[in-house]
């Protein structure tokens, strides 16, 4: 990554883009010579007439290649054609994911076991949580008791807590409020669960 510290508006270049830009600059400033062998190949390729009349062998071979590409028979160039296709636009996923023998044989290391079972445990925990919420919502037995029938601690001002004789410095007052609210919350939960 390259970033000019003094100008945060400059774009961040990844390594590939940086390499491309360097090649562009070098090509423009000091263009290299074309290799003779490369030049010869280009020349030969250009001089060849792709549409010249085919020989009888070429007709036979081109027909074989056509059939092989259509899935009928085999041809030497089929391998190359598949390689090109695989490199240019590889299929999204393997036709079948091959399970490693070590996995099926149970030869898992402690770390793999930990990761796999950690994942499974997380999924199970999430599923259990969803199930709990759904059953709590749907099950008539588990439905919340009638709130008016319960003697719940009502929300109220904290003023009384501040005026209590036992209060001390601010931190102690905060602790006291938290403690009382915690007790109220606990009492309300017990009341809603039907615990006496």
């Amino acid at each position: 990554m390259t970033r000019h510290d003094s100008d945060p508006d400059l774009p961040t270049l990844d390594e590939e883009e940086e390499r491309r830009l360097v090649a562009l600059l070098k090509s423009a400033f000091a263009p290299s010579e074309l290799e003779p062998a490369r030049h010869e190949r280009l020349l030969q390729a250009a001089l060849e007439d792709p549409f010249a009349a085919p020989s009888p062998e070429e007709i036979v071979e081109s027909e074989r290649l056509r059939r092989a590409l259509d899935g009928d028979g085999d041809h030497l160039d089929l391998v190359l054609a598949r390689a090109l296709s695989a490199a240019y636009a590889p299929s999204e996923a393997p036709p079948k994911v091959v399970a490693p023998a070590a996995l099926t044989a149970g030869r898992l290391s402690a770390k793999v076991l930990y990761l796999r079972f950690g994942g499974v445990a997380a999924v199970l925990a999430a599923a259990a949580a969803v199930l709990l919420v759904m059953s709590a919502r749907n099950s008539p037995e588990a439905s919340a008791p009638e709130l008016p029938a319960l003697a719940l601690v009502q929300s109220r001002s904290t003023a009384a807590l501040f005026q209590s004789a036992s209060v001390g410095p601010p931190s102690a007052r905060i602790d006291r409020i938290a403690s009382v609210r915690e007790r109220d919350l606990r009492a309300n939960r017990y009341a809603m669960w039907g615990v006496r």
Binding site: P50, F51, L69, S85, A86, A89, S91, P94, K96, V98
Partner: protein, 170 residues
Amino acid sequence: MILRKHGPRLYRSVLLPRLGSAGSAEEALSRTYVKVVERFEQFTWQAVGVYPWLRVVALRVALDMLRARKRELLFEPEDVERELEHTERDAREADELERYDLNCAKQRVRDVLGRINPRYADAIRLRILEERSREEAALSLGVSVATFDVVLHRAMAALRKALPEGGTES
């Protein structure tokens, strides 16, 4: 979980482009899985996750398979060796590495097509890479379907000649 998540990505962007056939790539993926399971103790957690490490394992498997071949396809063992050297200092995440690998493979195809007659390159691009029908490809080149078949055959022969080792068979 990790292998199920990253296996298809390794297949698509690392193994299949370098090995050139679904069969070889599947075999390589299987070997990669076994090596990962055997060597997972050696992995130390990194900020970029586990994918770069899995990719190195897959590249090494691909390298072994390329070396074992008598002839190479688009990638040579030296190409993968260079990638492995570069990977040692790599701190890119899975998505970025995947994009990089896919771009490299595409560029390799463009490079080899650049070595042959442009009409041949067109024939291969239309029929093999873009999977157009013979009729469509022939129309694009302005020739009859029968002539297109011959041109494609010549194109493949020219490409084979242009490859570094001059061969394609595994």
